[in-house]
């Protein structure tokens, strides 16, 4: 008999199936596919501009072209003109308004660090050297990167086609990331604020943060006739395929239809067209982090494919760490003003949250800066106002909890200020304002925030916390405890997968999803094994190939909630196909039964007349049994009509120490408690939470891309000077989960962990520093110079 699985898999702590590959160096990342090529692989290196605005006056490539090993130097003067079509309906990972950079198609300079040439040579070293020989002169125009000054200017006229640079602008209608309005007013927030017993009014600043996955972005591209194949660091192989096809004008009729296909099951469209093989294929089995930098397809990817086509040979291009600051997006600099008004009991009467956020001068990047405020607490009166400011920076992009992270930070720091103003315990203030429904009155599908508060308070020892700041001292350190709520919407969109059951007793499951680190490989293997009743080691799960069934973007914390149900559906469809075979097979104990009367239990097909294992039936059939299935809504769940709001909640507690002599802040312990619905794999869910907390501490204490005010360029563009957290800075971190499966969202009951994990940590740390020192740091990061005067 074939092996079956009789004990539960889902919900059990399970190690990564890719762990051995990763630690032994056998997991191949995009740039490492160079091992598949010989000397025909050419190497591309970018030339970027120092100037932040203007037009290229001249590019002298003579010296570079004469340098040893140089194959070609591409500039806007000699690069082929490419279609760079835009889809009619843009995927949500790219701004809905504006024109994406079309590299080397223009002489215009929009920001410092913009690519102006690509040098391709036989070796990387030759290309690097030749790149230093390209001489670029720019007719410079005045550049502006000053968000503070721009915030004070009158708003740009909405009717103007070209907005004034450097003035606040309301995002175009329906152009926001989630398609939700940017500005919302409920009740009369101004009057309620005026009338409130207690009010606070804070201005908060969050500087530019850069995603900085450890794997740099990289592309290897080659053409066979009209077919383009690419290894690209991406969080979405399907979108990379789509964008590349559009850029090069490949199979226009196919592409037009696939505009819609991005939000539906790819297989459906392919069957309509009768196309089994696409003319663009993106293969990325491993993605070494991303945090959002791999959502879009960026200029260097198109340039690599362009060079490969022009030179008729494979080309490899890897971004340098400095280029990672200006090539693949960033979390935008933003300013926020938060006003809170509460009655004498601490019940919120008015919430007014305004945000000003930088974008580029060529695209309107929007993020969910104020959306969480509308979901956070019960209040009868609320207003959110969101403004974009075009500046001479690259277009920002989504970085882990894009908007939610920054917006929740400001709201949660202001909540603490309100508690301080009232002399109330900040946790109690949050408890009193715990909402049962959103501001429009729609109830939550499932919410266990009160339990999260209880558990977190117990684990951090909140009961012993004195109310007054500067009242905990240990040796030379001020000690403080802080809390923050966490928020992140739960989402889901259509995904598809295929399941193939083999006569040898194993199963193969494929989907074009990604795994940038959360453990998609192991969690999907678990879902498939659980559905089929097979041990984990009998399931081979593969992802990251655009020839696999369509998967949505690996972002928005929705891979588990979207791809998981698709994997389950594909496995169920394959089981159904086996049942159909078995009941028609005289050799089967199920022969003659009605398909409806046969069920699968622990890997066994059980019918009225007998039973056999699923894989025994497949073995007897002698050939693979395969099925493809899709699952989920065509649009984001949050945009679908629903009786419920799907949203995750939780809290973070932090204990910090601040050196009373030097002001150095250090986080000593963090307790994160989140309600994320069903936890599929406690091991990877805890790992994601710990990673999110680490990122949040970095945001609170040290991360900042510093724009030089005169050159409009990031001054600290190395990982030595852009400080991300090291292990030594990382404290003891506890990750806990509360709640119950959210079956209203999807059949697995999972809501996703990745982004709520990083929301709230920064505010909990800042609030703890305030409790320790009495200083409320309003501009991140909270480096020691911001508290030194007071310690």
């Amino acid at each position: 008999m074939t092996t079956t699985q009789t004990t539960p898999i889902i919900g059990q702590a399970t190690r990564r199936v890719t762990g051995p590959l990763k630690v032994s160096g056998q997991a191949t990342y995009a740039a490492e596919f160079s091992k598949d090529f010989g000397p025909e692989l050419a190497h591309g290196v970018l030339v970027t501009t120092m100037a932040a605005s203007g037009r290229i006056a001249s590019i002298d490539t003579e010296q570079a072209e004469a340098a040893p090993g140089v194959v070609r130097v591409f500039t806007h003067l000699n690069a082929p003109e490419l279609p760079y079509e835009e889809p009619v309906m843009r995927p949500q990972v790219q701004p809905q308004v504006g024109d994406p950079l079309r590299p080397l198609q223009t002489d215009q300079i929009f920001f410092s660090g913009q690519t102006v040439a690509v040098v391709v040579a036989e070796t990387l070293e030759q290309a690097e050297h030749a790149a230093t020989l390209v001489r670029v002169t720019v007719d410079e125009a005045p550049a502006d990167t000053n968000l503070h000054a721009a915030r004070q200017r009158p708003e740009a006229d909405e009717e103007q086609d070209t907005p004034r640079v450097s003035a606040p602008k309301k995002p175009a209608e329906n152009s926001t990331m989630t398609g939700r309005p940017s500005d919302v007013t409920v009740g009369d927030p101004d009057a309620a604020f005026e009338a409130a017993a207690h009010t606070v009014d804070l201005d908060i600043e969050i500087k530019t943060l850069v995603n900085h996955p450890i794997e740099p972005h990289a592309t290897i591209a080659w053409w066979e006739g009209n077919k383009l194949t690419v290894h690209d660091k991406t969080q979405w192989v399907d979108n990379a395929r789509h964008k590349l096809a559009l850029a090069f004008g490949i199979r226009q009729e196919e592409i037009d239809l696939k505009v819609d296909a991005l939000n539906t099951a790819k297989d459906a469209v392919e069957s309509v067209l009768g196309i089994r093989e696409s003319s663009v294929r993106v293969i990325t089995p491993f993605t070494g982090g991303g945090f959002g930098s791999g959502l879009r397809t960026w200029p260097h990817t198109f340039l690599t494919a362009m060079a490969a086509r022009e030179l008729d040979r494979p080309v490899r291009l890897v971004l340098t760490r400095a280029e990672m600051f200006t090539s693949v997006g960033h979390r935008p600099h933003n300013l926020q003003r938060v006003r809170l008004g509460a009655d004498a009991d601490g019940r919120l009467q008015s919430v007014i949250h305004e945000g000003w956020q930088e974008t580029s001068v060529y695209e309107e990047y929007t993020m969910n800066l104020l959306n969480t405020t509308r979901m956070a607490y019960a209040t009868p009166n609320l207003r959110t106002t969101y403004r974009l400011v075009p500046l001479n920076v690259q277009t920002p992009t989504s970085m882990r909890a894009p908007g939610e992270c920054s917006g929740a930070h400001a709201l949660e720091v202001t909540m603490d200020a309100l508690a301080a103003e009232m002399g109330m315990d900040p946790l109690e203030l949050r408890r009193r304002n715990n909402a049962t429904h959103d501001v429009q009155g729609t109830p939550f599908s499932s919410k266990h925030l009160a339990e999260a508060y209880d558990l977190g308070a117990e684990k951090i020892g909140w009961a012993d916390r004195p109310l007054a700041p500067r009242s905990m001292r240990d040796g030379d350190d001020w000690v403080g405890l802080g809390v923050s709520s966490t928020f992140y919407p739960a989402n889901r969109i259509k995904a598809s997968a295929s399941a193939r059951l083999l006569p040898d007793g194993t199963a193969q499951v494929h989907t074009a999803a990604s795994d940038m680190g959360p453990g998609t490989y192991v969690s999907m293997t678990m879902v498939a094994a659980d559905t089929l009743g097979l041990p984990l080691d009998k399931v081979r799960f593969a992802l990251g190939d655009s020839d696999f069934p369509h998967a949505p973007v690996h972002g928005g914390s929705m891979t588990m909630a979207s791809v998981g149900p698709a994997v389950r559906a594909a496995c169920q469809a394959a089981v159904q196909a086996v049942i159909e075979l078995a009941i028609d097979d005289d050799a089967s104990p199920l022969a003659g039964a009605s398909a409806n009367d046969v069920r699968l239990e622990h890997g066994e097909l059980i019918g009225p007349g007998g039973r056999e294992t699923l894989m025994d039936a497949v073995r007897r059939h002698g050939e693979p049994v395969e099925a493809t299935a899709a699952s989920g809504p065509n649009k984001l769940q949050m945009l679908m009509p629903s009786d419920y709001v799907f949203h995750s909640y939780g809290c973070v507690f932090a204990r910090v120490r601040v050196d009373a002599r030097t002001g150095e802040p250090r986080v000593e312990k963090v307790v994160a408690v989140n309600d994320v619905g069903k936890v599929i794999n406690p091991t990877t869910a805890a790992s994601q939470t710990i990673g999110g907390v680490v990122m949040g501490i970095g945001m609170a204490l040290m991360e900042e891309a510093i724009l030089d005010p005169n050159f409009h360029r990031y001054a600290n563009d190395t990982l030595a000077e852009y400080h991300a957290l090291t292990n030594r800075d990382a404290p003891e971190i506890e990750a806990h989960f509360v709640g119950e499966p959210d079956y209203e969202l999807n059949p697995l009951g999972a809501r996703g962990v990745g982004e709520i994990a990083t929301v709230g940590t920064s505010s909990a740390v800042i609030n703890a520093i305030t409790h320790a020192t009495g200083v409320r740091v309003l501009s991140l990061p909270a480096t020691l110079d911001k508290v030194l005067h007071a310690v």
Binding site: M50, P68, E125, E128, H129, T132, A322, D476, R661, T662, G663, E664, R666, L701, M702, I706, D708, P709, N710, F711, R713, A715, N716, D717, T718, A720, E721, H723, L725, T726, N727, R728, D729, T783, L784, D785, L788, H789
Partner: protein, 337 residues
């Protein structure tokens, strides 16, 4: 990276002959030079890899001091028994620098010769008087949070990035230099230069000379009862905002008998605080006295905006370091009793 020729001589004499070529630069662990070559900041025509030279030993000197070969790795130096026991601040300072991986590669001589991490120096797109004399200094009205408050000039406000050198400066270390004309010895405090009008000239080392060793004088109570305190934005792999190497010895009356004090992160060179030592010597070993000595160090300091906080931070850090050195001195005298 600009093309270069690579040489790996086996003797000091061969190395010196190669370094006599115009455009030749010695390569040690490469932890700083290679980065700068990749950025196009350093463009040597000839790299003279000195790693095969017989300069990798730590040996006792006749007078009981230590001679640290120029190629001794940071890791080996920090872990050396006598360094840990007799020159504690050197071990602590070295361990406070960089990361374990870098310390495994980085050499003692290379540590002395590392270049500033000023953002405007390490990116060739900016003007920089250090990189291109006469082109200007964008740090002064740019982002200067990590820059100097002492001894800077109109031409340059960069800092020296070393931790190890701060401790070496405090302990009167000597730099052994060898050129084709012979050997010479330079006190470490005179080895690095203030920027003045020529910030491109950072040390007294001539282009055709190499460092062969750094010598520590015989240990003293102050060198044993010593400490290195580094204040920085993260706990590992970050340069000092302010750092202090301090050593203290007490007389029978509990007064300060001997004191060593040097600061990092504040100037173009490791900043030995001779005047503050004079203030402390013979006086009370109290927090007040320590703080006053620190205040004296920054009495004429200049801030450039973002780095203003270093002016109050420096005396606070001096007091922290001297306080820790005092605790070690008191523990030592307690042990002796």
């Amino acid at each position: 990276m600009t093309p270069f020729t690579y040489h790996k001589p086996a003797s000091v004499a061969d190395a010196l002959a190669l370094l006599a070529e115009p455009g030749a630069t010695p390569l040690g662990g490469g932890t700083n030079l290679v980065d700068l070559m990749r950025k196009g900041v350093e463009t040597p025509d000839h790299l003279v890899d000195v790693q095969d030279l017989p300069l990798g030993e730590i040996a006792e000197t006749d007078d009981g001091g230590l001679r640290i070969g120029a190629l001794v790795s940071n890791t080996a130096l920090a872990a050396h028994d006598r360094v840990r026991r007799d020159y504690r601040m050197v071990s602590e300072a070295t361990l406070a620098g960089a990361s374990q991986q870098l310390r495994n590669r980085a050499t003692t001589g290379g540590n002395l010769l590392q270049r500033t991490r000023c953002y405007y120096f390490t990116e060739p797109g900016y003007p920089c008087n250090k990189r291109e004399p006469g082109s200007g200094c964008p740090a002064k009205d740019g982002f200067n949070r990590i820059h100097a408050i002492l001894g800077e000039s109109d031409a340059c406000i960069a800092t020296h990035p070393s931790d190890m050198c701060v401790a070496l400066a405090a302990l009167d270390a000597t730099v052994e230099i060898e050129g084709r004309g012979g050997q010479r010895q330079v006190p470490l405090v005179d080895f690095h230069l203030l920027p003045g009008d020529t910030p491109d000239v950072e040390t007294v080392l001539a282009a055709d000379e190499i460092i062969t060793a750094v010598t520590l004088p015989p240990p003293s109570d102050a060198s044993r009862q010593s400490v290195y305190v580094k204040v920085r934005d993260r706990q590992s792999y970050a340069f000092a905002l302010v750092s202090v190497a301090a050593g203290l010895a007490l007389g029978a009356d509990g007064q300060v008998e001997d004191v060593r004090l040097a600061l990092g992160g504040v100037a173009h060179k490791p900043w030995r605080a001779f005047d503050a030592e004079d203030l402390l010597r013979g006086g009370p070993a109290t927090d007040d006295a320590f703080r006053q000595a620190g205040e004296a160090i920054v009495a004429d300091a200049t801030g450039y905006g973002h780095n203003d906080f270093k002016i109050p931070l420096a005396p606070r850090t001096v007091a922290v370091a001297l306080g820790k050195a005092l605790a070690r001195a008191q523990r030592a005298s307690g042990d002796a009793r």
